[in-house]
Structures are given as C-alpha cells and as structure tokens.
C-alpha cells in the first residue's frame, strides 16, 4: 500500500520537472496569428464593426451608382426618418435577444399603445401629456405580462410572444373598434402626439424630433448596457443563465426588467409612429415585428444571446434603410428590395456563426 508520505514524494518529483521547465503559466500572448485570425478576433471583440462596414459599403455602392440624388442631405435624412420606428423597436428587440429571447409582440404592442394614446387624448379628452404617459405605462404592462410568462411560468419567449402578439393585436382591434383616428383630430386635441413628426431643417436635411429621440434612446441604452451593472447582468443572463445565477445574479429580475423596458420602448415607438403617419391606425406597423428582428440580426447581435451591441442594431436598421432607398432610387422593383434584405439576413447570420466561434 502507498503511504501518504510516499505519495507526497512522488507528487513533488513530477512537479519539480514541470517547474524546472520555467516560464510563466498562462501567458496570454498568442504566437503567430494569421490575418484571418486577427480579423476574426477584431469582429469578435467589436460586434458593431461588421454592420458598420456593410453600411459604409452600401453607401459607397449607391452613391457610385446613383450619385448626387442619393447623397443629397434631404435623401439621407429621409432614410433616417424611414428607419426611426424600426430603430426604436430594434432597441427593444436587441435587449430581449441579448437575453437569448425573442419578442414577436413588439409590433402589436406598438400599435396597441398608439391606439391607447390616441383614444385617451382624442376620445376621452385627457391632456395629451397624460395620454402619452398612459400609453407608456400600458407598454410597460405588456412587457411585464411577457416577462411574467417567461420568468414565472418558464415558457419559451418565442411561444409567449407569439401568443401575446395575437392577444395584443386582438385587443387593439377591439379597443380601436377598427377605426382610424384622423390626423386633424389629433392635431386639434393632442399636438404633443405629433411632436415626434415635427422636423427641423438644417443644411438641407430634414431631421424629425422622432429621429433625434431614437438616437437619444440608442445612447441611453448603450450607456445602460456598457456602463452599469444592469447591462453586465443582461449580457451574463443571456450568455449562460445558470452560471449567472451561481455568480449571484438574480436572473429572473434581470429578465423581468428587460421585458418591461422593452414594452416601454415599444410605446415610445408608438409615439414616433403617430408623429410619422399623423393618424392613429389599428392596421399600422404590421411588418414592424420582423423588421425589428432583421435590424438586430444584421446588426450582429447573436440570436443565442449574450453577444452583440446596441449600436449594431442602429447600423442594421440603417443598412436596411439604405438598401431599400438606394434600390428604389435606382428604379429597382420592390420585390428585389425584399430579396436583397432577405439575402442580407442570411449573410449576417452566417457571419455571426463565424464570429461566435472562438
């Protein structure tokens, strides 16, 4: 039988050899790295880089094909206006996808809350500020419902939001009685709801307050994700919820907060929507769901959670906007615009798979 003392001697022996070999343990310097490796590392570390490059390439492409008409400040600001709604919804969608979820209800929540804002102001006659607040709270409540179903009842987000998408949309049709509130009525009763559509003209560009609001929201959420503990917890929860829990994070609370914030963001998107189309229509924004997911995916955020950046989504939304606008100006049929966006999604997901590999 081996005695303990004996064992110690043996242990020490083979360790001496290892120690004699010298050198520091776990040095983090790679040896020779190829260009592909370095590129891979770069894209891995900066998820916003890939969509930014695509955006710049797209702008270069269309300005060389179409020229001045595309690069005209008015046209560029028009693209920004066109992506504003998707941009705001995209922020909400990014937060959810970072937690390895998906939110199919964003479009329905936006329409529902726009109807609530419109009716509260026009039909009920509440002050427009109050109507807006009620809409924002309603958005938060829808997010809370989604969050509750995901955290408390442990249902997959895809199924939960597929269900609530239909439910919120039905509520929207019921509450609005399928009637549109006309722009003039809103203008008369609640001009505040049109504020997001108000534009300022500078250097030939037409910037709406809605677009500026969207950019502001991107900055705020970027800050929250990058510079607060909450942001770290969102990433950790999406990355590996079990590990996050063991590391002392209340993942349930994090998820809940993300869904509520996303709901409120959808209501802000509703405000932007009213400003953009002027009226309140229960049929508006039907495609918004999928467009928001498209922006997130092209923006380089991984559908598996825990990886991605909020500004990537802005780039993703702009890429889609630039392609749609550029192809339209070039006289390309709408169906080829859709074709192109579809191809972009697949390429983006392919690139994500490559980048995610370590």
């Amino acid at each position: 039988m081996t005695t303990p003392q004996n064992a110690k001697v043996q242990t020490a022996d083979h360790e001496k050899v290892a120690n004699a070999a010298g050198g520091d343990f776990a040095t983090f310097q790679g040896a020779q790295v190829s260009l592909a490796d370095r590129l891979h590392q770069f894209f891995h570390q900066y998820p916003v880089a890939a969509p930014t490059i695509v955006l710049l390439a797209a702008i270069a492409l269309f300005s060389s094909i179409i020229g001045g008409r595309f690069l005209d400040p008015f046209n560029l600001s028009l693209i920004l206006q066109q992506v504003t709604i998707i941009g705001v919804l995209g922020i909400a969608q990014t937060l959810i996808i970072l937690t390895a979820g998906i939110d199919l209800s964003v479009g329905a929540v936006m329409v529902l809350t726009s109807v609530i804002m419109g009716r509260m102001a026009v039909e009920v006659g509440l002050p427009s500020g109050l109507a807006l607040c009620i809409g924002l709270i309603a958005g938060g409540v829808t997010g809370w419902i989604n969050g509750l179903l995901v955290t408390r009842f442990r249902l997959p987000p895809f199924i939960v939001t597929l269900g609530t998408w239909n439910i919120f949309f039905a509520l929207n049709l019921w509450y609005s009685q399928s009637e549109t509130i006309r722009s003039q009525e809103i203008e008369a009763a609640a001009p505040l709801l049109h504020w997001t559509g108000t534009a300022i003209d500078i250097f030939g560009a037409r910037l709406t307050y809605g677009s500026l609001l969207m950019l502001g929201l991107f900055v705020v959420i970027w800050y929250a994700l990058k510079w607060t503990a909450w942001g770290k917890h969102v990433y950790a929860t999406g990355d590996d919820p079990d590990s996050a829990k063991l590391a002392g994070i209340r993942t349930e609370r994090v998820l809940m907060s993300v869904y509520v914030v996303a709901g409120v963001l959808c209501a802000i998107a509703a405000w932007v929507l009213i400003g953009r189309i002027g009226s309140v229509s229960p049929q508006a924004g039907m495609m918004a769901n999928l467009d928001s997911i498209t922006a997130v995916v092209i923006g380089g955020t991984s559908l598996f959670g825990g990886r991605g950046s909020i500004f990537g989504t802005l780039m993703g939304a702009l890429v889609v906007g630039v392609f749609r606008n550029g192809l339209a100006l070039a006289g390309v049929d709408v169906l080829w615009q859709e074709f192109t966006v579809g191809a972009l999604i697949i390429v983006a997901v392919g690139v994500d798979q490559w980048i995610r590999k370590v």
Binding site: M1, P4, A7, F25, F28, H44, T228, K232, L246
Partner: protein, 265 residues
C-alpha cells in the same frame, strides 16, 4: 479528531431529491475553524449537491445548516456571499462573453463615487480592472496580458484560474472549491494547492472537493468521505492511507469495521 476546535459550518440531516434521484440523503457535515476539509466520493455521490446546499445554489428539502452556530436558510448564492462564503463551482459559473474583470466582479460591481455613481449608476471600470489585475497577480494564478479579454478566449485551465481567483479574493468566511484543479496542469494545480494553504494560513477554512488523492492527502486536515448521498466516514491523512480512503469511498471497506488509525502508517 479536532474536537478542541470550533465548528464553523455544520449541517444535519440534509436531504435533496430530484424526482426519483436522491442527490443528498440525510447527510451530516462539519467544518472546523481554519481547517482544510476535503470531500471525496465517486462520481454522482452527491458532493456537488452538498456544497451547493451549503452555498445557497440549491435549497435542501430537509435538514438544518448552521454557520457559527446560527441557523441559516440560504435562498440564493447571493445570501451565502453576503456572509463571506465564496464558491468555485464545478462548472465554474463564469460568463464567457464578459471579460476577466467583469467576471471577477459579477454581482458585486463597484460604482464610481459621487453623483455619476449614485444617480447614473456608472461602473468604476478602471478601479475594478486594476483591482482584478492586482488580485490575480497577488495570487500568482494568472499572468494577464489583457484583463479586458473575454473569458471565452481563455483556455479551460485559465478560466478555472479566474474562478478560483474570484473565490479566494472575496472570501471572508469560508472558501468552497468543487474540483478546482480538474482542468489544470501540473504547475497550475500546484499554485492552487499553495493558494489553499495560503487561505488556511489567513485563518479561513476551505472545503475542497477533488478526485486527486495525492492532492487531497497533501493539503487536507480531514477528509469527509461521501457515498450514495451521505457522509459515511471521516478520516485523516495521517491515520489512513489513500488506498483505505478509496476503499471506503467505493464501498469495498466498511469504515465501521476499521476504526480510525487501524491502518496508520
């Protein structure tokens, strides 16, 4: 046995069931002040489940746990951490996409002083990075080129180093390590063993789960042998041989038949 020493951490009659599987089966547990207690047992014996119950990662179905004589009921790992109990879990519990410093401070982030911190909740990134670096260097566990490196870009052993460093750096009461050297090389394991000795020298007790008998027999003051969900024996490195410990662990030897010291070298 170490009867003159104070019991820090104690459990009586712990039970945890997962459906039909009883992971912890009415087990007892004792940890004395300032000792290194090794827990050994076959795969699936329930060692990880036991330390999860002790660290708040799971809530036992039955039984009592006391810390310094006071009953405790951990609901989450946060509760255990608040009392200075730090754990290296078998799966490491690191977030791959976050960097090394983020991981070390996960769930205990520091904010910058002043209004930026209190109102805008701004993280003191620089402070945390510097401290993470200092702690890693102090422990001699890692030579860090870039503390901003995502943990997923580290090797398995390096990740384990981060998890061990995190626990050792923040523990104030008890350190629990579930197979901390499983992925480590020879030299790296040696550093962890030295670290365990350092922690003990600071007066903190350590719970070490390991399948590596030479390591266990080298650093442990006492060895808790776990079998089929419960503690079946406690032996000491100077009263039992490795072979005996293994024989008890696998059921080849009944500890009742062989009182402590019978096989002492």
């Amino acid at each position: 046995m170490t009867t003159d020493k104070k019991i820090v951490f104690q459990a009586r009659g712990l039970v945890k069931r997962y459906g039909h599987v009883t992971a912890i089966d009415h087990t007892d547990f004792d940890l004395y002040a300032g000792e290194v207690l090794a827990i050994i047992g076959d795969n699936g014996a329930g060692k990880s489940s036991l330390i999860k119950a002790l660290s708040g990662a799971l809530v036992p179905d039955e039984g009592e746990i006391t810390l310094d004589g006071k009953p405790i009921h951990f609901k989450s790992p946060m509760d255990a951490r608040a009392l200075g109990i730090e754990t290296v879990y078998q799966n490491l519990a690191v977030s791959p996409s976050l960097d090394i410093a983020d991981n070390m401070f996960l769930g205990r982030e520091r904010r910058v002083p002043g209004i930026l911190g209190s109102v805008f909740r701004m993280l003191d990134k620089k402070g945390m990075h510097d401290e993470a670096k200092a702690k890693l260097a102090e422990l001699g566990l890692l030579t860090i080129q870039n503390i901003n490196q995502a943990v997923e870009t580290l090797s398995g052993g390096q990740r384990q180093g981060v998890a061990v460093a995190r626990a050792a750096a923040f523990a104030r009461h008890v350190v629990i390590m579930d197979e901390p050297t499983a992925a480590l090389g020879v030299k790296e394991s040696r550093r962890v063993l030295n670290l365990i000795n350092d922690v003990r020298a600071k007066g903190l007790p350590v719970i070490l789960i390991s399948h590596n008998m030479p390591h266990v027999f080298e650093v442990a003051d006492r060895i808790h042998i776990h079998r089929l969900g419960k503690r079946i024996a406690i032996v000491k490195p100077d009263t039992h041989t490795m072979s005996e410990a293994v024989a008890i662990m696998t059921g080849a030897l009944n500890p009742e038949d062989h009182p402590a010291g019978a096989y002492a070298a």
